[in-house]
Symmetry: C2
Amino acid sequence: MRIVALAGGIGGARFLRGLKAAVAPGDEITVIGNTGDDIHLYGLKVCPDLDTVMYTLGGGIHEEQGWGRTDETWSIKAEMKEYGVGPEWFGLGDRDFATHLVRSQMLTAGYTLSQVTEALCVRWQPGVRLLPMSDDRVETHVKITDEAGTRAVHFQEYWVRLHAAVDAEAIVPVGADTAKPAPGVLDAIAAADVILFPPSNPVVSIGTILAVPGIREAVAAAAAPVVGLSPIIGGAPVRGMADKVLAAVGVETTAEAVARHYGPRGAVGSASDPDGGRPAGLLDGWLVDTADEAAVPAVEAAGITCRAVPLLMTDVEATAAMARAALELAEQVRR
Amino acid sequence: MRIVALAGGIGGARFLRGLKAAVAPGDEITVIGNTGDDIHLYGLKVCPDLDTVMYTLGGGIHEEQGWGRTDETWSIKAEMKEYGVGPEWFGLGDRDFATHLVRSQMLTAGYTLSQVTEALCVRWQPGVRLLPMSDDRVETHVKITDEAGTRAVHFQEYWVRLHAAVDAEAIVPVGADTAKPAPGVLDAIAAADVILFPPSNPVVSIGTILAVPGIREAVAAAAAPVVGLSPIIGGAPVRGMADKVLAAVGVETTAEAVARHYGPRGAVGSASDPDGGRPAGLLDGWLVDTADEAAVPAVEAAGITCRAVPLLMTDVEATAAMARAALELAEQVRR
């Protein structure tokens, strides 16, 4: 079975670890990773979401933190402080720096991000095929208003430095409109037997991937069933600050509203994609947490088959059970 | 008093620390640093000699090793090995990497190496004005013949990877012929009250600096006395493998031969600079170790005032005594 998953960072990576534990031998998992939160720091190209997936599946992640490397050292960060070179708010450990050095050197030598990611995965052996959503530069910016006035900041600055404490007025994936899907992305979606939306951020992770022209259309047109898992439980994000960016796109922080935001397969246009020009409906199935069981009828009324199962990724076994539930739902909605 | 010193790496840096201890308050030291052993690694510009001077005088050097940083960590090196990215033979610690990251980022932004060096020294406060010999790229290559045939290797590969175990057939400072002295270099030499050649490598350190068109001529024409300290004691280099590169330029590994190689001030041409077209004679005074006292008459016969004093840089005080001896000799030969 060929499974395609769209993935952001920590939540997506943890779900994928459960998915790997859930699938049968011989099943192939292709991960389309968000690159909208990529950032250039110290002259290096940093790809936080791709790296989180790679480290998590390859056994190098800092478990408690969810991002960055295990057994990390922080000498460079200390030195940068002595040199007065920032940003201080972004944590790059020494081991992590090595990844960015190798990546940047290969990019400068002319390799694409896809090729670099494949090369890095030769070491990490994540057990999935990891594709960046695009080889073109896409950078998610967030419009905010604070004492410095109204301005757009890089997503990482909004998320890591400002802790999303300011309201997000708009989310702009700069460059997405002219980006092309990376080689293999559209083929993988077209050839998939199942397409999954892990409980990643619907706006700045999955939403950014879908913003690359061709990807949303390919998912909407795919023969495979599309099943998503709600990142919202009991009206709040399980982790992260998804409520802030959901508000920016006019979506309530509820499992039901996120399902409606993705929209039922076949629907054209939606409340959150009012121009209606692009195929907006993507979901055949949607998993909500048992805490949100009351939302099931409303999601189904919207044309999306819905089940309530435990959605807390407390450990790999609990996460594998979530993945199994998603794959089972995919079979139920297969046309 | 304005003192100008030409300097390579470890030997030069240690001498400069002694010089700083020897001079009077208000004396100004300008160091013209060798950049011929600079190398690009992992996409970063590494300046080993400039950094060794900066770290040694700024209190950040690894004392026993003589190069690199104290309290160093080696996470990146371990990661590079896992990624299979070399060269494994060159040791860059994590703290050291931070320097190369800051430097490379500034160079990419358009600053010159002089400007970058000045910026890095804002942190290190080396107590001297540190100038690269040139802002232009100069890279010392060494011609060797081994089982892989006759070829040119980067000086660092010859020195660090091959440990100078193969004979050097030629030393070629690639790019030196078209390089320009960095801003301030010629002015500092012209305005100097004393010019010193520390016991650095006469070929690949001081020789490379002198190979930048204009610098050798400026030293030869300077009003200030020029005094050197022999890096050769008892027929062998005190540290390093200077004998190998001296042989490549046809100079014996003796304190006397190195003095003759620099040549007496005013002489045109010399045995080791047979074309005679450039002013070859540079030295007014030369210090040899007490072990080489027998060489004094021959050096003086060559037209260079010579004294024998202890030249082992065993600690800062012993090194300061060497610097005082050099400054005293400068006064004796001042015209």
